[in-house]
Amino acid sequence: MLDEALEAYVATAREVGNASSLHAAGRRARRRVEESRERVAAVLGARPSEVIFTGGGTESDNLAVKGIFWARRGNGPDRRRVISSAVEHHAVLDSVDWLVEHESAEVGWLPVDAAGRLDPDDLRAELTAHADRVAVVTAMWANNEVGTVQPVAELAAVAAEHGVPFHTDAVQAVGQVPVDFAASGAAALTVTGHKLGGPTGVGALLLGRDVAAVPLLHGGGQERDVRSGTLDTAGIVAFAVAVETAVKGQQEYAARVAALRDDLIERVRRAVPEVVYNGDPTDRLPGNAHFSFPGCEGDALLLLLDAQGIACSTGSACSAGVAQPSHVLLAMGADDDRARSSLRFTLGHTSSQADVDALVAALPAAVERARRAAAPRTPRLTPHPPTPRPPPVPGPLRRTPSIMKLLPRRSACRADNFMIDGVAPGGPTGWCAG
C-alpha cells in the first residue's frame, strides 16, 4: 500500500462515524466519502455521481454484468444476450456463465487474435446479427495475464451505435495507461484499489448516470441504491488517495517501467533464444512481460525462480492451488503445453534494474532444469513406463462460437466426479499416508 494511502487510511479509521448518519460525526464521515468520490471522479473522467464504491473488482464486475443485464432485460424480455470475450477475468467470465446457467442468458463470445486483441468488427457483426437481443457488452480494458490493451474506445463506440451499454473491466489499466471514463464512451467501468497501491477490498464501479443496474446487495440504499451497505469510509478515503496518486503519476511511471520491461524482454530473449513472447508487442501494459518457455512447465520454473527470490506467476490456480493452463493463452490459439509453459513477470513501482539483472542471471539455468524435469528421462530412478498423456485440448479456432471450446479453463478441476453414495465398504483399508 502506498504510504499516502496508508496514512489516510489510519487517520480516517481513527475517526468514528457512519457516513449515513445524520449527526455531526456521520456528516464528517460522509464528507470524507464525498470528497473521495470527487477525487476519483476527477482523475478518471467521471462525474461524482457516477462513482459507486464497492468491495473491489470482483464485486464491480458482478454488479456491472449482472446488474445491467437484469435492468435491460427488465425493460425488454428478449434482451438476454451478453457479449463478452474469451480473455476476460474470471469475475466477468463466471458472472456471464452464471447468467447463462441461472437466468437463461445467451452469450456471444468474441474471439481474440494471436496477440490477445479484440477486433471491433467482430463486435459489430455480433451486434448486427442480434440487434435487439443484446443486454450488455463487456470487454476488459487490458488483460491481466498477457497485458494486451484492448481498443476500448472503438468497442464502446460500436456498442453505442447499437444503443447497448458497454462495460469494461479496467482493473489492470488504471494507473498503467491513460483511462478516461467519459472519453472512452463506456457505460460502466471497474476499478479496484489494491492494483494501484490502495487497500484490498475497496473498489468502484463507474456507472453512467443514465445507465440502470439492478443491485446485487439490498439494504440501506447507499450508493444510488445500487450498492447497499455501510460505507467503508477509511477504505474509500485510502482508495481515492491511491487512485489519484496512480493516475497523476501514470505517465512518468509508465515510461520508467516500460523501459525496464523492454530491457527485460530483450535480455530474456537473448538468454533463452527459444522463448515465445506473448501478447501485443506495442499495445500492452508497461509492466507486463509474458513468455512461454517451450518444453518447460510453468510451475516448475516458478518454484526454481521463487527459490532465488524472484516472484512470477503462472496464471490462475484452481481452488486447491493447482496451476491451470491459462484460458487467455488458449483463447489466443496456444495449445495446452504452451499454455502450461508460460510465466508472467510483472514490474511495478518497486522494480529496479537489479531485479531485471537477477532474473536474467537466474533464468537460463532454471529453464534448463525445468526442461529436464518435464522431459521423459532415461534412465529413470524407477522402471515404470512413461504414462501416455491425454491428448491435448485442441486449441480454439478463431471465431469458435462455443464457450466450451474457448474456455477449457478449470477442466482439470471439473472433469471428474467420484462421489458415490452408499454403504457396505469392502476391500482393503487403512494405509494411505505420507
Partner: protein, 357 residues
Amino acid sequence: MRVLAAMSGGVDSAVAAARAVAAGHDVTGVHLALARNPQTYRTGARGCCTLEDSRDARRAADVIGIPFYVWDMADRFHEDVVDDFVAEYAAGRTPNPCLRCNEKIKFAAVLDRAVALGFDAVVTGHHARLGPDGLLRRSVDMAKDQSYVLAVLTREQLDRSMFPLGDSTKAQVRAEAAERGLAVADKPDSHDICFIADGDTRGFLAGRLGEAPGDVVDASTGAVVGSHTGAYAYTVGQRRGLHLDRPAPDGRPRYVLSITPKTNTVTVGPAEALEVSRVRATRPVWTGGPRPATPVECEVQLRAHGDVVPATVDLDGDTLHAELRRPVRGVAAGQAVVAYRPDPAGDIVLGSATITG
C-alpha cells in the same frame, strides 16, 4: 540436503517435514493434488485429497516456515492408481492402491520431478524406519507400521527417500505436532481409500464397471447357491454381503474362495478351504539390496496389517514361491507378499512381490 516434503495435510507428513527442517535440511513442501475434482474425492478432511487437506498442508508449511506448492498429479494418479485399481478388481484380483501410489506416484513421478528440479530426496510421513544402513525396517509402532506399502521401493528409490517418523509412535508424533503448534495435531487418521468417497468400494466399482450379474457357486457341491451383480465386488476371504439363497449343506458359514472373471463366477466355501500354505507371486522387488541367496528363511506378510508367518521364500526366474510354516486364510491375488528378516533393531524388509495365487 535440498529435500522435498510431500505434505498430505495430515499430521504425519507435517511432523516429518518439521523434523527434516530441524535436521538442518533445506525443505520445500509440496501437496499433491491427486483428484481431478478436488471437491469430490472426499467430502471433508480425511487425510488426503480434499480442499481442506490442501489448506491444512499449506498451513502446516506456514507454521514450519517452508515454501509450499501444489503439484498437479491428478492425471498420473488417475491412470496409474485409480484405473489400475478398477482393472485389478475387474480381473478378479484385490489391489492395494496405497502401495501402487507409492510405487508409481510418490516415489516415482514426484521423486523423479524433484530430482530433476535439483532436490536430493523426498521426505514423507510414512511410519517405517530407513536408517544410515539403507535398510527399510518396520516402525517402532507396529499398529501404524507402513513398511508393507513401501516394500515395492527399489534401492535407488530408497536412497532418495527419508522417513523421519519410523522411530516414533503415532502418539509421539501427535504430541510433537501439538508442541510445534501444528493445527493438524489431532486431525483424525485416514482409514479408507482416498479416492473413494464414503469408503463404498463396491459402489465405486459398480459405477465404473457396470452391473454384471452372475452365479455364486459352492465349491464343495458345485451348486449355484446365489447370484451377484458383479464378481469384481468380491474379495477372497469375504464373508459378509454374500446374500446366499440357501444355507450350505453343512450349515456352516461360507466365504469367498475365488473369483473367476472369465465365467463371472464367485466361488464360496467353508473357512478351512481358505487356508493356503503356498503362495506364488510375481514381479519381485528387492528392497534391501541385491537379490538374496535363495531359498531364504524369513517371515512373510500377505496383506496390510495381516498376520506375519514364518516361511521359506524361493525364486524361480521372475516367480517367487513362499512356503508358509502354517496355513493362512484370505490370501488374495493382487496383494503383495512382503518378506521380512526378523531383527532386534526392527524387522528388515527384504523385498516384495505381487501375489498371483
